[in-house]
C-alpha cells in the first residue's frame, strides 16, 4: 500500500504531505526531512526507486517540484511512478484551466509545469490539491485513475461556487 505522498520544493520545504498510515506529528518533520534528503541528493541518471528503512520511496521530479511516494513492497514501483505522473497531469489539467493559461496539454512541452506558477497554484489551492489526491488515493490504495472522474467533484464544486 501507499504510506504517504509528499510534495517538496527544491529547497526541501514540504508543500503538501498526505499520510495514509498514522505517523506522529513530531516524527513527520524528521521523516520528511530525511526522505527529502534521500531524494534530492540523487542525480538524474539514478533510478527513481530508493530503499528506505523497511519500505520504498518512488519519486519524480518536475522542475522545482519533487513528488515522493512511500510504498510498501506490495506495490508495483513503475505503476506508482506513473500514478505520480497521472496526478500531475490532473493537477495540470485542473489548474491550467482554472488559471485560463494557454498551456498545451502535453506535459513534456508544458512551460507551465516548469514555472514556479505551478507550485504557486498548489500553494494557493492546497485544499483543492487535497481533494484531487483524495479522489485518486484513499487509505493508501489507488481508487480512481480516470482524469475526468477525478476532477468531477471539483468541477461540480467550482460550478456551485461561481453560480
Amino acid at each position: 500500500m501507499i504510506k504517504f505522498v509528499l510534495m517538496v520544493n527544491r529547497q526541501g520545504q514540504t508543500r503538501l504531505s498526505r499520510y495514509y498510515q498514522p505517523v506522529e506529528l513530531n516524527r513527520r518533520a524528521t521523516l520528511e526531512a530525511d526522505v527529502v534528503r534521500c531524494c534530492l541528493s540523487r542525480k538524474k541518471e539514478q533510478c527513481s526507486f530508493v530503499e528506505y528503512k523497511d519500505f520504498r520511496l518512488v519519486y519524480r521530479q518536475y522542475a522545482a517540484l519533487y513528488i515522493v511516494v512511500g510504498v510498501t513492497d506490495s506495490e508495483n514501483e513503475l505503476s506508482i511512478y506513473e500514478l505520480v505522473h497521472n496526478f500531475v497531469e490532473v493537477l495540470d489539467k485542473y489548474f491550467s484551466r482554472v488559471s485560463e493559461l494557454d498551456v498545451s496539454f502535453h506535459l513534456t512541452n508544458s512551460s507551465f509545469l516548469k514555472t514556479t506558477g505551478f507550485v504557486l497554484q498548489i500553494m494557493f489551492n492546497l485544499d483543492r490539491v487535497h481533494i484531487i489526491l483524495d479522489e485518486m488515493i484513499q487509505n493508501g490504495h489507488i481508487v480512481e485513475t480516470n482524469k475526468s472522474r477525478i476532477l468531477a467533484p471539483l468541477t461540480a464544486l467550482d460550478k456551485m461556487t461561481s453560480s
Binding site: 511512478y81 500553494m123 484513499q138 485513475t145 472522474r149
Partner: protein, 983 residues
C-alpha cells in the same frame, strides 16, 4: 497573482498565504504565523457568532499552518461545526481538517460520528463520499463500531452511485484492517467478490484492494475471485488500446487495474480449473508478446505503464513457478531490460531476476546473464542498482560459477560503497563457505576479504574461518602458511592478526619446518603486531604465545621474557594482566606433560548453522536468504564441518564426565581465579570468558583454551539470547515488587542443563547469568555469575532463591546476599550450597530484582538443580544388571516413554548426553548393541535410590523408547520426564 478559485474567494486566506511566502526567514514566518494564530483564537473566542464562511476561512488557515509543519491545538470544535453545514465547501473543509488533524482517540469522535451518520443517510453522493472518506481516514474503534455494519450494505446496494461504492470499498478495507472483528463479511462475501465484474472500472479498482486484503486473510472464502479476476484481466489485456477510453493511459488499457488484478492472483496458487488456467496463461503470453511489439507511443509514460504490467505478470509467473516455458520467457525479457537505457528498468529487472534465480526451471536461464550482471556491478552509476546486481550475483551463484562470482564480488569490494560493504562481506563469506570445493580456496577468499575490507569483517566471519580450519585437518597446513604470509604485510588489519594468532597458535608447527617460518620467526611476526592491537586481540595473542610454548619448547625463554615484562605482567587491563601472570606461572611450574595436556590442540567444533548466515538473515533485504537456501547450507555446512559425527556438547560432556579432578585442575587456583577476571570491562567477549563451558575439571580444555573457545562460541550464545528475548519480555514488564512469575521459557532453560553443569543460564539485553556447578554425593555447590551487559550500573540488585511447596522439605539451598550494586560491564558472583534431603521433582526458583535506569527489573528463573545431579555412577556387568532389572519389576517402579527424536540420534551425541546425566554407561550389557543401558545411585540425605536406564533408539522411525526402573517410583517418573526432553 495566479487565479485563486473564483467565487468564494477567501481573500483573507490568499493574503495570509502570500505573506507567508514573502517571509525572508524562518523567524519571520513563525512571527507571522503566531500573529495569525492569535487572531484566529480571538475570533473563535469572541462573543460574536461566526458565520459559516468565516469559520471555514479560519479553519482553512489553521489547516494551512498545520501543513506548513506547525502544531495546531485548537479549532477542532469549529471544524466539527462545519460538518453540519449544508454548503459543500464548508462541509468539505471541515472533513478535511478532521481527516488530517484528528487522531482516532480524540474526544470529539462522538460529535463527528453524528455528523457522519447524517451525511451517510443523506443520499447525496458527494456528502456520502465525504463521510466515507472521513471514516476511512480516522478509522477509530468507535467509528468502526458505529458504521461497520452499515458500509457493506452501501457497498453492494444496487442504487449506490459508483463514486460512493469506491469510497465504501476502501472505507471497509480500512475498518477491516483496524477492527477485523467488527467487519463481518459472511453474507456479503459473494456480492463483494462480484464487484470484480462491475461495469465501472473505478469501482473495480477500488474493490480489488479490499478483495486482495480479504483474500489474504480468508483465502478459501474468497477463492471465487480467481476466475473473476482472470476473466476481467483477459478482457482488459485483449481490448484495443482505445476501448477503455479514459481508463487508457498513453495507449495502455487500465494499467493500474491490470497490475492490481495480477497482484490479487498472487494470493492464490495456479487455478485448478483448466479453462481458467488456460485463459490466464494466454493473458500472460499476450503481455509478454506486447513487450516485443513496437511501442504505440514514444512517450516514456507509455512504456512505463506497459512495463509496470509486464513486471507484475512476471511476478505472477515466478509466484506460480510451474510454467517452465513462461519462466524462461520472463527471464529472457528481463535479460533484455538488463541492458536497457532506463535505469529504472535495469533496477527492476535485476530485482525481479533475483527471485527468478531461485526457481529450478529458470535458474540456468538466469545464469546465462552472468556477464551482463557482473558488468552492471562494475559500471552502474547508481549504488542502488549496483546493490541489486550484487544481490542477483549472490542469488545465481552455484557450484559452477562460485569462483567467478566470488572473485568479482571481491574485486568490487575494493571500490564498493561503504553502505553496502558489510552485507557484501557477509555474502562473499557465505558463498565461499557454501561452495568451497577445496578449502585452500576458502581460506584464500576469507583472508582476502579481511585484507580488502577488514573493517567490515564482523566477528562471525573470522570465527567461522577458524571453526572450519579447526575441523578440517587437510587445510590446516595451508591456512598456517597463508596466514603467515598475509601477516608479512607491513600494515595488516587487526582481524588478520586475530586469525593469524589463533591459527599459528594451533597449527604453527605445521610450517615450522621451513627456516623462513621457524617458531621464532612466527613468534616475532605476531609480536610485532601486538602493540598496535586492541585489548581483546592482545588477550588472544597472549593465549597464542602460551600455545607456542607448548608447540615449540625452544621459544619458551623468549616468550617468558615477553610475559614477564612490566607492560604485560603489570598491565592496567586486568584481563591482560591475569593472562600474563597465569601463563607465565603455568609455563614455569607445569611439566611438559601437563602443559601438553592443558594446551592440547582444540577439538573440532560441533556442527552448527553458520553464524554468518544467521547474521545475514537478520539484515533485512530482498537479497537476504530464503528458507531453502538455509536448508541447503545446513546440508553443505555439514560437509564442511567434516566430522559430523561429533556431538554438539563435547565440552559439556568433558566437563560433567570428569567427576574426579584432574591434576591440572587446581594448579592455577582457577576456581578462585575465574571470578576475579570479572573486573569491569566493556569488551563483551572478555566478560563471557568467565562462563567457561568447560569447567575447571575438564582435562583437555583448561582455562586458557576455553578462553579461546568462548571467544569463538560467543556468537551462538548471542543468537540464543535473541530467542530468549523474543519470547520473554516479562522480565521488564511487571513493575511490582513481588517476585515475577517464572519466565515462560524457564523450563526450557532448565532442560538445557539436565546433562551439563556449566554454561549460560539466561541472557537478555541487560543481564547475563552464567552457572558453574559441581556435585558430590548428596551435596552440591553452584556458582552464579551475574554479568551487567550495559554500561549503566544496576542498583538495588538482589536475588532470592526459594524452594516452592514441598520442595522446601526436599532440598536445602543456602546462600548469602549479593552486593546491591552491579557496575556497568561488571560481574558479581554468588555461591549456593545445596543439599538434597530426599528425592524431588520441582526446581528451586531464582528471583532477581534490580533497577536499571530507574525501571525495576524483576525476573524469575528455575535453577537447574535436577534430581539426576546427585547420581553416583555404578559400574556393573551384564549379568548383575539384568538381575537387578528383574528385581525392580513392580509396575510402579518402572516409567516408560516412547517419543520422537528432537535432536541428533548420533551415537556420540547420545553417549555424551547419557554421561552428562551422571550415570555409568554400561557397555556390552544389552544384547542389542544399538541400545544404551546405564546404572547409577541417587544420593540423598535420607536414602539411596538405585536407578537403571535403558534407551532404545529406532533410527528409521526417528523414535526412542526410554525405560527407567528405580527403587523409588517417584524417581522413575521424574527422571523419565526430564530425560524425554533431552534426546
Amino acid at each position: 497573482m495566479p487565479a485563486v478559485s473564483k467565487g468564494d474567494g477567501m481573500r483573507g486566506l490568499a493574503v495570509f498565504i502570500s505573506d507567508i511566502r514573502n517571509c525572508k526567514s524562518k523567524e519571520a514566518e513563525i512571527k507571522r504565523i503566531n500573529k495569525e494564530l492569535a487572531n484566529i483564537r480571538s475570533k473563535f473566542k469572541g462573543d460574536k457568532a461566526l458565520d459559516g464562511y468565516s469559520k471555514k476561512k479560519y479553519v482553512c488557515k489553521l489547516l494551512f499552518i498545520f501543513l506548513l509543519g506547525h502544531d495546531i491545538d485548537f479549532g477542532h470544535m469549529e471544524a466539527v461545526n462545519l460538518l453540519s453545514s449544508n454548503k459543500y465547501t464548508e462541509k468539505q473543509i471541515g472533513y478535511l481538517f478532521i481527516s488530517v488533524l484528528v487522531n482516532s482517540n480524540s474526544e470529539l469522535i462522538r460529535l463527528i460520528n453524528n455528523a457522519i451518520k447524517n451525511d451517510l443517510s443523506s443520499r447525496n453522493p458527494t456528502f456520502m463520499c465525504l463521510a466515507l472518506h472521513c471514516i476511512a481516514n480516522v478509522g477509530s474503534r468507535e467509528m468502526a463500531e458505529a458504521f461497520a455494519s452499515e458500509i457493506p450494505r452501501i457497498l453492494v446496494a444496487g442504487d449506490t452511485m459508483d463514486s460512493v461504492k469506491q469510497s465504501a470499498a476502501l472505507c471497509l478495507l480500512r475498518l477491516y484492517k483496524t477492527s477485523p472483528d467488527l467487519v463481518l463479511m459472511g453474507e456479503w462475501t459473494s456480492r463483494v467478490v462480484h464487484l470484480l465484474n462491475d461495469q465501472h472500472m473505478g469501482v473495480v479498482t477500488a474493490a480489488i484492494s479490499l478483495i486482495t486484503c480479504l483474500s489474504q486473510k480468508n483465502p478459501d472464502e474468497f477463492k471465487t475471485c480467481v476466475s473473476l479476476a482472470v476473466s476481467r484481466l483477459s478482457r482488459i489485456v485483449s481490448s484495443a488500446s482505445t476501448d477503455l477510453q479514459d481508463y487508457t493511459y498513453y495507449f495502455v488499457p487500465a494499467p493500474w487495474l491490470s497490475c492490481k488484478l495480477l497482484r490479487l492472483l498472487q494470493c492464490y496458487p495456479p487455478p485448478e480449473d483448466g479453462a481458467v488456467k488456460g485463459r490466464l496463461v494466454e493473458c500472460l503470453e499476450t503481455i509478454l508478446n506486447k513487450a516485443q511489439e513496437p511501442p504505440k507511443s514514444k512517450k516514456v509514460q507509455h512504456s512505463n505503464a506497459k512495463n509496470a504490467i509486464l513486471f507484475e505478470a512476471i511476478s505472477l509467473i515466478i509466484h506460480y513457478d510451474s510454467e517452465p516455458n513462461l519462466l524462461v520467457r520472463a527471464c529472457n525479457q528481463l535479460g533484455q531490460f538488463l541492458q536497457h537505457r532506463e535505469t529504472n528498468l535495469r533496477y527492476l529487472a535485476l530485482e525481479s531476476m533475483c527471485t527468478l534465480a531461485s526457481s529450478e526451471f529458470s535458474h540456468e536461464a538466469v545464469k546465462t546473464h552472468i556477464e551482463t550482471v557482473i558488468n552492471a556491478l562494475k559500471t552502474e552509476r547508481d549504488v542502488s542498482v549496483r546493490q541489486r546486481a550484487a544481490d542477483l550475483l549472490y542469488a545465481m551463484c552455484d557450484r559452477s560459477n562460485a569462483k567467478q562470482i566470488v572473485a568479482e564480488m571481491l574485486s568490487y569490494l575494493e571500490t564498493a560503497d561503504y553502505s553496502i560493504r558489510e552485507e557484501m562481506v557477509l555474502k562473499v563469506a557465505i558463498l565461499a563457505e557454501k561452495y568451497a570445493v577445496d578449502y585452500s580456496w576458502y581460506v584464500d577468499t576469507i583472508l582476502n576479504l579481511i585484507r580488502i575490507a577488514g573493517d567490515y569483517v564482523s566477528e562471525e566471519v573470522w570465527y567461522r574461518v577458524i571453526q572450519i580450519v579447526i575441523n578440517r585437518d587437510d587445510v590446516q597446513g595451508y591456512a598456517a602458511k597463508t596466514v603467515f604470509e598475509a601477516l608479512q604485510a607491513p600494515a595488516c588489519h587487526e582481524n588478520m592478526v586475530k586469525v593469524g594468532g589463533y591459527i599459528l597458535g594451533e597449527f604453527g608447527n605445521l610450517i615450522a619446518g621451513d627456516p623462513r617460518s621457524s617458531p621464532l620467526v612466527q613468534f616475532n611476526l605476531l609480536h610485532s603486531k601486538f602493540h598496535l592491537c586492541s585489548v581483546p586481540t592482545r588477550a588472544l595473542l597472549l593465549s597464542a604465545y602460551i600455545k607456542f610454548i607448548n608447540l615449540f619448547p625452544e621459544t619458551k625463554p623468549t616468550i617468558q621474557e615477553v610475559l614477564r615484562c612490566d607492560s604485560q605482567i603489570r598491565n592496567s587491563d586486568v584481563e591482560l594482566q591475569q593472562r600474563a601472570v597465569e601463563y607465565l606461572k603455568l609455563s614455569s611450574i607445569a611439566s611438559t606433560d601437563v602443559l601438553a595436556t592443558v594446551l592440547e590442540e582444540m577439538p573440532p567444533f560441533p556442527e552448527r548453522e553458520s553464524s554468518i548466515l544467521a547474521k545475514l538473515k537478520k539484515k533485512k533485504g530482498p537479497g537476504a536468504v530464503s528458507v531453502t537456501e538455509l536448508e541447503d547450507n545446513k546440508r553443505e555446512g555439514g560437509e564442511l564441518n567434516g566430522s559430523s559425527d561429533r556431538g554438539p556438547d563435547i565440552a559439556a560432556m568433558a566437563a560433567s564426565n570428569a567427576s574426579t579432578p584432574s591434576p591440572s585442575a587446581d594448579l592455577l587456583g582457577i576456581r578462585s581465579a575465574a571470578p576475579v577476571g570479572a573486573a569491569p570491562t566493556s569488551a563483551g567477549s572478555l566478560l563471557v570468558d568467565v562462563f567457561s563451558e568447560a569447567g575447571p575439571a575438564a582435562p583437555s580444555l583448561a582455562v586458557n583454551d576455553d578462553g579461546f573457545l568462548r571467544d569463538l562460541e560467543q556468537p551462538t550464545e548471542a543468537s540464543d539470547a535473541l530467542l530468549v528475548e523474543g519470547s520473554g519480555d516479562s522480565d521488564s514488564a511487571p513493575p511490582s515488587e513481588d517476585p515475577a512469575a517464572p519466565l515462560s521459557e524457564a523450563d526450557e532453560l532448565l532442560n538445557k542443563f539436565v546433562c551439563k553443569n556449566n554454561g549460560v543460564l539466561f541472557e537478555n539485553q541487560l543481564l547475563q547469568i552464567g552457572i558453574k556447578s559441581e556435585y558430590r554425593q548428596n551435596l552440591g555447590r553452584m556458582y552464579l555469575f551475574y554479568g551487567n551487559k550495559t554500561s549503566v550500573q544496576f542498583a538495588s540488585f538482589s536475588t532470592t532463591v526459594t524452594c516452592p511447596g514441598e520442595l522446601q522439605s526436599q532440598l536445602n539451598v543456602q546462600t548469602k546476599p549479593v552486593e546491591p550494586i552491579v557496575e556497568g560491564g561488571a560481574q558479581i558472583q554468588q555461591v549456593l550450597n545445596i543439599e538434597c534431603l530426599t528425592d524431588f521433582s520441582d526446581a528451586p526458583l531464582l528471583n532477581i530484582k534490580f533497577r536499571y535506569g530507574g525501571a525495576l527489573q524483576n525476573l524469575t528463573l528455575k535453577l537447574p538443580v535436577t534430581i539426576n545431579k546427585f547420581f553416583q555412577p555404578t559400574e556393573m556387568l551384564s549379568h548383575d544388571f539384568f538381575q537387578r532389572w528383574k528385581q525392580l519389576s513392580q509396575p510402579q517402579q518402572e516409567a516408560q516413554k516412547i517419543f520422537k527424536a528432537n535432536h541428533s540420534m548420533d551415537t556420540e551425541v547420545l553417549k555424551a548426553k547419557l554421561l552428562g546425566l551422571g550415570m555409568a554407561l554400561l557397555d556390552n550389557v544389552d544384547p542389542n548393541p544399538e541400545n544404551y543401558v546405564c546404572a547409577g545411585v541417587i544420593q540423598t540425605k535420607g536414602q539411596q535410590v538405585g536407578c537403571l536406564l535403558r534407551l532404545e533408539p529406532n533410527a528409521q522411525a526417528q523414535m526412542y523408547r526410554l525405560t527407567l526402573r528405580c527403587s523409588k517410583d517417584s524417581v522413575s517418573r521424574r527422571l523419565c520426564e526430564l530425560l524425554a526432553q533431552q534426546f
